[in-house]
């Protein structure tokens, strides 16, 4: 039978990445405390972390945003996979791999850049983040930016809560926000 063996398939996927031919390399990171993640990386860093991903839709969107050469390839994702493992094991407090948010609209990018400065184990509020982004009245818009964060966990939108101390919401579901904040010791 002339079918594509697993090893040939993996060899091609590794070669495609090694030759620098991919706009986005992605893979699944399975069995994390927050479920299976679909993660995508470009030459510039991590561009996507998705909960409960509908793979087909994710690929279409990655192709639209970053270019059509989107391919599953394990090796380019290994570094992020390792950093996530360490994070979930409580052994890592920040990520070395840069987020790639070049395709994010200007306002969102400004907010996400401020979000990146909220430390492990800390929390901030939507209003405070809006103020730090130079738009003090935009707390609600900041909520929307958090909801559309392309790289949750690495850009820690789980650390943003309501002014009254309520957790408010989370793109991946409130249970995950609680889990991440507990992991970091920000809440009991």
């Amino acid at each position: 039978m002339n079918t594509v063996s697993t090893s040939l398939d993996e060899r091609f996927r590794a070669a495609a990445a090694a030759e620098g031919l991919l706009d986005v390399a992605y893979d699944l990171v399975e069995d994390t405390p927050v479920g299976t993640l679909l993660v995508g990386v470009t030459d510039h860093g991590v561009c996507r972390i998705s909960y409960d991903a509908d793979a087909e839709r994710e690929l279409e969107e990655l192709a639209r945003l970053h270019g059509p050469r989107v391919l599953r390839s394990a090796r380019p994702v290994d570094r992020l996979r390792r950093e996530l493992d360490e994070y979930f094991a409580g052994r890592r407090r920040h990520f070395e791999l840069e987020p790639d948010i070049r395709v994010v609209p200007e306002f969102n990018r400004r907010v996400l850049e401020q979000l990146a400065r909220v430390d492990y184990g800390e929390t901030t509020t939507y209003g405070a983040l809006a103020a730090r982004s130079g738009s003090p009245h935009a707390a609600r818009a900041v909520g929307t930016v958090m909801n559309r964060n392309p790289v949750p966990i690495v850009l820690p939108c789980h650390r943003v809560i309501g002014a009254n101390g309520k957790l408010v919401g989370y793109g991946g579901g409130l249970d995950r926000k609680v889990l991440l904040l507990r992991l970091e010791g920000a809440i009991l």
């Binding site: 002339n2 594509v4 031919l21 192709a63 059509p68 989107v70 391919l71």
Partner: protein, 152 residues
């Protein structure tokens, strides 16, 4: 409206088994593996320059058939012998065609091989070659005329 170009992953998953089967029949398992990787690397190098997502199957098979022909030519040169084909398949015509068409101009060769060796429609071949169905038909018949003359 033009068909959108799918993410490469989708293209690859959709056509990899057929490309591998095609290459396996032409080259045998071992050489087919290298040719498989080369086919999809070539496709990937050209992928962001595609203008639409139509006829991608024909496009993939065209790349694969070029690699088969390159492989034949490379192996033929030292001895001048015809390549030994590892397996027979349901389209033996191709196995005779592929080495015979080596001397044809590029477009005619591709058109003849895809039409008579692989049974693609002229529209598919035209799209794969970046021209039209009727241009593909002309290229194929010009190629056949030339073959008849050469092998008369």
């Amino acid at each position: 409206m033009a068909v959108a170009i799918p993410p490469f992953e989708t293209f690859y998953e959709r056509h990899k088994d057929e490309v591998m089967a095609f290459l396996g029949r032409r080259l045998g398992r071992e050489r087919a593996e290298d040719a498989f990787q080369e086919t999809f690397l070539r496709a990937l190098r050209a992928y962001d320059r595609l203008e639409h997502g139509e006829h991608l199957r024909a496009w993939a098979l065209t790349i694969a058939s070029r690699i088969v022909l390159d492989d034949f030519r490379r192996r033929r040169r030292p001895t001048g012998e015809m390549p030994e084909l590892a397996t027979r398949d349901e389209r033996p015509a191709f196995e005779e065609l592929a080495p015979l068409t080596d001397g044809l101009p590029h477009k005619e060769r591709a058109a003849v091989v895809l039409r008579y060796g692989y049974g693609l429609s002229y529209d598919e071949i035209g799209a794969a070659l970046g021209s039209t169905g009727s241009a593909a038909r002309q290229a194929a018949s010009a190629g056949v005329r030339r073959l008849r003359k050469e092998h008369a």
